[in-house]
Amino acid sequence: MLNKNDGYFGEYGGRYVPEMLIPALEELEKAFYAASSDPYFAEELHTLFSAYNNRPTPLSFAKNLTDELKGARIFLKLENLNHTGAHKINNALGQALLARRLGKRTLIAETGAGQHGVAVATAAAKLGLKAKIFMGQQDMERQYPNVFLMKTLGADVVSVPIGQATLKEAVNAALKDWIQTLDDAHYLIGSAVGPHPYPAIVKYFQSVIGREAIKQLQKHRISYPDFAVACVGGGSNAIGLFSAFISDHRIRLIGVEAGGKGSKPGDHARRFSSNGSPGIAQGYHSLFLQSEEGQLLPTHSISAGLDYAGVSPEIAYLYKNKRVEMTSATDQEALSAYNTLARLEGIIPALESAHALAWVIKNAPKMNSDKVLLVNISGRGDKDIFITACYSDPMQWKAFLKRQWKGHHE
């Protein structure tokens, strides 16, 4: 059973939307709180999680990485082993069940790199719903493989040619489409952002990560980790991991955001420290990268999942109250951590998760071996091959792409 709240985390959060959206958000809020106390719903979700989604995901002691860094013991929560390869599916399945409960037949979603879009298309296919995925035109061009996968899964992918034509515009377009189709559609937001009750819903479905991790650590005779570390884009994998630990102040919660390629505006997605400021956009109040006059700024990260101007209002609140510590890793540091984990542990992490690992690699050597670091490997790195291969092996990769192209056109 969940504690209801008014949708605010301190001053952050809320429901800053046109009046016409409020009835749908109220309906969703009611259905969500009812579902969260319904054992039948819990059973349905549990069955999907275990028999379809491969939960519980393993907790793995990273022995080689620990030995190499000669410091704290490092444990990896392997969310990369979820069906579709990232934690995103936890929320997609949960909300799709909620949508079905509301009698909705269509799932509307936004997607940046396409990971959330693929998760929603998957959940829709599994639960017999239609999926309509909004994606910035530029993202569609950059992430065609995921566009193809979504279409394969039967989803309708809609290109958004407005503004920067990336995630932010996709969110706006999805919300607008929802306004026009409220009766039949559920808007399945992908991160712990947006108007109330979305941050609460996403946290609820992602909190399985932290809950499992605690139990799994106990099997290693560890009652609590000293640090829980996660990357923070919108914040869904982070709040999912942190949720189990927030009330236990012995555990330090570390969020790692995208340092990108530098500190100039537009070169990073660091909403914390002095870069971001409180603002109201996309239906919620939180920290945003924005101009002095309140226009949201363009962002950059090598990892699409961290490339976003806003952030979970709850994480902004936890940061303000010094419960969560925020730091950042650059594109280069993330790439290096990505390679390290691949070589030492045989795990190719998503570039998003590599940001969290970059912090671990920097800080674990400074700690004693009695310290325990718990890191969320939020996704797997296969999806990033068009980026990572271009960085580490550009000649061979280009030659491969050329051969493929020729092969199809001869």
């Binding site: 429901r15 016409m20 706006n172 309140g294």
Partner: protein, 247 residues
């Protein structure tokens, strides 16, 4: 039922495609017979606007239009403009400027009406009534036919002078006919008190506007004027208004 024709409110995005055009359009719209102007201050993430108006917002921002420049223009032309300007923008623009400062800018330019569609009356950052009153600003609430009657009554209990209603549950853009739900709603709020009703979202022909007679006092035309401007320039906009105003 009112004997007078429905008043015409023309919507414009400030700074689209540039501020000089905005100035020419404001004067031309007045000259063509419009009764008021809804001037939108552009925002990077305009949640309640359709693709056409969103694009105009982005185009204005690409041309680096600033709030200061918009108010400078308003300071210069709004006080002498014979018709009122309703200023519309999103929460964050007001929030970043600071509510009191924003209201003082409005007052200085003689702006008396403000529309902020993504700022529900019960949110933590809702504009305090006493602040608005001290600057003689009238906040125009945006209503929707699907809203709960509890929320509707709560909004109307503050006795707004104007209310702005959406005719269909949807975003700004073309819609062939005004849905019955819209008419029922207009009738309902008409009976709830003595406010001037602004109706909009999707109006694109003089006959649609005439249909509103008795139901609304002011019809706002937005996307359609923008489409006319994009396709045929400012004269097409003035002609459309003139055709309506002369009837």
């Amino acid at each position: 039922m009112s004997e007078k024709r429905i008043q015409f409110m023309a919507h414009l995005v400030a700074g689209y495609p540039d501020l000089l055009t905005t100035e020419i359009m404001m004067k031309g719209i007045e000259n063509a017979g419009a009764d008021s102007i809804e001037l939108q201050i552009p925002f990077s993430d305009p949640l309640a606007d359709g693709p056409l108006i969103s694009s105009a917002n982005h185009q204005a921002l690409r041309n680096a239009i600033t709030l200061k420049e918009i108010f400078r223009l308003l300071d210069r032309i709004a006080p002498s403009l014979p018709i009122p300007v309703f200023l519309m923008t999103y929460s964050n623009i007001v929030f970043q400027c600071g509510s009191s400062r924003f209201c003082s800018y409005c007052k200085k330019a003689g702006i008396k009406h403000l529309i902020v569609p993504d700022l529900p009356f019960d949110s933590k950052h809702a504009l305090p009534l006493d602040l608005l009153q001290s600057f003689h600003i009238d906040l125009v609430p945006v209503l929707s036919p699907s809203m709960s009657r509890q929320r509707l009554d709560a909004i109307l209990s503050s006795h707004p002078r104007y209310v702005y209603t959406t005719l269909k549950t949807g975003i700004t853009g073309p819609e062939e006919e005004i849905q019955n739900q819209g008419f029922r709603f207009l009738k309902e709020i008409r009976e709830k008190g003595d406010f001037r009703i602004i109706a909009g979202f999707g109006l694109q022909s003089p006959s649609q506007i005439h249909f509103l007679k008795g139901y609304a006092d002011i019809a706002v035309v937005g996307s359609h004027l923008l489409r006319l401007y994009n396709e045929s320039g400012s004269d097409a906009v003035f002609d459309f208004i003139r055709t309506y105003a002369d009837v």
